[in-house]
Amino acid sequence: MAMSTTFLSGPAEQLRARVVGIAHGRRGRGAAGGAGIAWSGDLFVTSAHVVTGSHATIVTPAGRAVPGEVVRRDAERDIAVVRAPGANVPAVVTGDPYGLRSGSLVFAVGHPFGVRDAVTVGVLQAVSPLPRGYGLNGKGSLVWIQADVRLAPGNSGGPLADVQGRVIGVAAMVVSGVALAVPAPDVERVLAGLT
């Protein structure tokens, strides 16, 4: 089939099989707070603000709840790592956000307002500190992937990917309407020693 009819459906399907829901606590009570990414083995990456305690429950794409333990948290970079043995979710492939230019197509997978594995599409704006005038309580000087893609509560911790479905960042928040994601290399730094 032509690209015009399939568009991102192939890469999206592949990535959706690698995105999980994250719920608070051991039993996963309450609605899934955000999304998580099967990063490697039994390690799942999400946003630090999604997992507030030391335990979290992974909800696999098949809908299975698997208890997990928060093994690392970087509040400054807003990244947390959850180990959930037996979750058995295939890992994502990561990509290099610095290799993309402004205007490159990107897409996000997450659970905006609880809608499971929703795909939103847009383009990259920049991989840099935020422009002056975009307020972010001092965190604007960190390097963020900035994208013109729609994110909502429930996307946090989910992937932002290039057209091939390679994960270039972890969706974190929206500032002045612009989607912000933590660059994959920064996530790897948080993971250092765990994998």
Partner: protein, 305 residues
């Protein structure tokens, strides 16, 4: 897998190429507190941005694609079309490649671009939503073409260009002209307003010096004059084209240049564009009779700014 990742990657590359091409002609305009806006290097030494983002007349600078910050001077502004024009040193950066907005159809891929700082150009992605002919915006200016898109005009994107998938610039995006969808001031309007701002620093608007209201004629007059209604003169300013031509309060203008009048649109149409000095032939119902009066359009006096 049924998709073709190669073509999709090609599209992605093409969009990035379009951003790079058009982005080479963009500057960040520092003419307000905090966040800069975007300007398009429309022709050599001339930068166009939106009027609403130019909050001061002096101490304006622009950041070039290479990161240098250079001074700019305000050539003029036109609130009616939300455009402002700045002069910068000649040869500072490449000139915009302009497209023909008439070729854009709803559904075409487009990008909104911005330059906010020393970093590269920024992009937002979407499609043309609606196109059409000439219209008059709420700020009073005449826009040569209706061109709206579903692009998000992020903070600082105002004054930036609407760009097609090949990198051609079709106009300047205005955050202030409409709320529901992003509105683009098309190339023709930018060219027209820019020319006037460079020549005289403002856009001259046609004026005859009257206040009017649409009215229906009474049945007897309607029958006799074969006209339904027109514009009733409520006041005539002294030393204005209308008073010089002998128009009186109470006159009803029923036709302009042979075309019947039933509201303001016809009048605004003949007063729009480059019309100062042009003669209008008004057909006026006065005391039950039709009289013909010629009025020479003058330039609307500029109050304050």
């Amino acid at each position: 897998m049924s998709d073709d990742p190669t073509t999709l990657a090609t599209l992605s590359e093409q969009l990035a190429d379009a951003v790079a091409t058009a982005g080479a002609a963009l500057v960040a305009v520092h003419a307000r507190p905090r966040l800069p806006s975007t300007g398009v290097h429309w022709k050599d030494g001339v930068v166009v941005t939106t009027e609403a983002t130019v909050r001061r007349d002096d101490d304006i600078t622009v950041t070039l694609p290479d990161g240098r910050r250079i001074p700019a001077t305000l050539a003029g502004r036109d609130g009616g079309t939300d455009l402002a024009v700045l002069r910068i040193a000649s040869g500072s950066l490449p000139v915009a490649h302009l497209g023909d907005p008439a070729t854009l159809r709803p559904g075409h891929l487009v990008l909104a671009l911005a330059r906010l700082d020393e970093g590269g150009p920024r992009a937002a992605f979407g499609a043309v939503s609606a196109t059409g002919g000439k219209w008059r915006c709420w700020k009073g200016g005449e826009i040569d073409r209706w061109l709206q898109s579903d692009l998000d005009i992020y903070p600082g994107f105002g004054g930036g260009p609407l760009v097609d998938a090949t990198g051609r610039i079709h106009g300047v995006n205005s955050g202030g002209l409409s709320r529901a969808l992003a509105t683009t001031i098309p190339v023709a309007t930018v060219n027209r307003v820019m020319t006037q701002l460079l020549e005289r620093g403002y856009v001259a608007r046609g004026w005859i010096g009257t206040a009017m209201q649409p009215v229906q004629l009474d049945p007897a007059t309607k029958q006799r004059l074969k006209r339904a209604g027109g514009l009733l003169l409520l006041s005539v300013e002294p030393d204005a084209p209308a008073s010089r031509a002998g128009l009186l309060v109470g006159d009803v203008v029923v036709a302009i240049d042979g075309k019947s009048v039933d509201g303001f649109d016809q009048l605004l149409d003949v007063l729009g564009g480059d019309v100062v000095g042009k003669k209008l032939r008004l057909e006026v119902a006065r005391a039950g009779q039709l009289v013909s009066i010629d009025v020479v359009i003058d330039e609307r006096p500029r109050r304050g700014r």
